[in-house]
Amino acid sequence: MFHILLVLIGGERHGYAIMREVETATGGSFHLGPGTLYSSIRQLLALGLIAAADERIDPSLDDERRKYYRITERGRWAAHMEAERLAQLVRLIQERVQLAAPSPLPRLELGGQT
């Protein structure tokens, strides 16, 4: 859901555009299927984090009308909070990794002395 919010921060999108952008943003490692996408959209709509915009044609695809979604103020706030949480988590991991890093190996010299 966070991915969807991030995409919608960039502006209104329809379902397939969201799927493509999520895939591009994650370097192709995350494929959002239609079921997962619209199940997430249902939850985001229910939480008031996104809202349905209008139906219009996407000239880059075809002449079919598509339903667009936009992020709400509450959704922006939720995305901001989630980003903060993830940033804190990354900082914590970096600190722990530095603490746990092994010290350099002592240099061995001939004769058994270091």
Binding site: G15, Y16, M19, P34, G35, Y38, S39, R42, L61, R66
Partner: protein, 287 residues
Amino acid sequence: MVRASTAIYRWLLVLYPRTFRRVFADDMAHAFRDLARDAHQRAGAMGVLVVWGRALADLVLTVLGERSAQMTSRTWQQLGGLCLMIGSGVAGVTFIIHRLVGFGVFLGVLGEVWLAVAAALFLPGIIALHLRLAGRGGWWRWLGTVLAVVGVLALALGQWVFALHLGGALTSCGYHCISIEYPAGSLLDERFSALAQVYGTWLAVVGLGVLSVIALLSSPLSGRTALPGALVVGYTAFMSLPANAPALFPAVELLLIWVGAAFLLGRELWREAAPEIGAALPLTEVG
């Protein structure tokens, strides 16, 4: 290929709950078509196959998620009750086969099969009831749980007939969850004498007390359908047979209740689905 795939995918969307489908099915079909079309342009038929593989996994997971998200406590009750009933029905069939074959390797094999099937079907039902049977009285579901545990123990100890009697009560519990129309008491009124013949008076009193409680719980809403009446007639007719099979009658009772309950459940499901089926039929103007 893209068009056919989209048509099949759109057809599969019927697996989602109706409320979800009504809002999102068209958009999902469009999204799938766009995915399949792009994949076909990039990699041909193999690309479409890859899209299908991902879409099917996505479909299964999200159908389960959406279904469970939209399940009401009533649906959970139905699911739990259905598990209990099927468990009891399977146990009844197995018991009859056991009585017919009755010895040798079949005894051991069928015993194991029965135990496994009953446990596999009872336990989810009990869990579902515990999770979702809110507002129906906590002690009532504990009663079903105790019956189930004792029934499984009786099965494990080889007390087949005792287990079947408990299975009968458990079926009543299960069906009670499925349809509140079920007048349990009317089906169980002559159970006392049968229980007394097999186990003695004191156990029969306890059994009757338990069954009376179940009957009391279901009685205020009884009499709404003719089917329980038909079941009572069938049950009474069976009880009028010579007392040659005090062990066999609960098995037949289980099956009788199970068939009746399956009919009622089917009727409820048909009623629920009928408007949708009716809407799908082509309408023709008369005159």
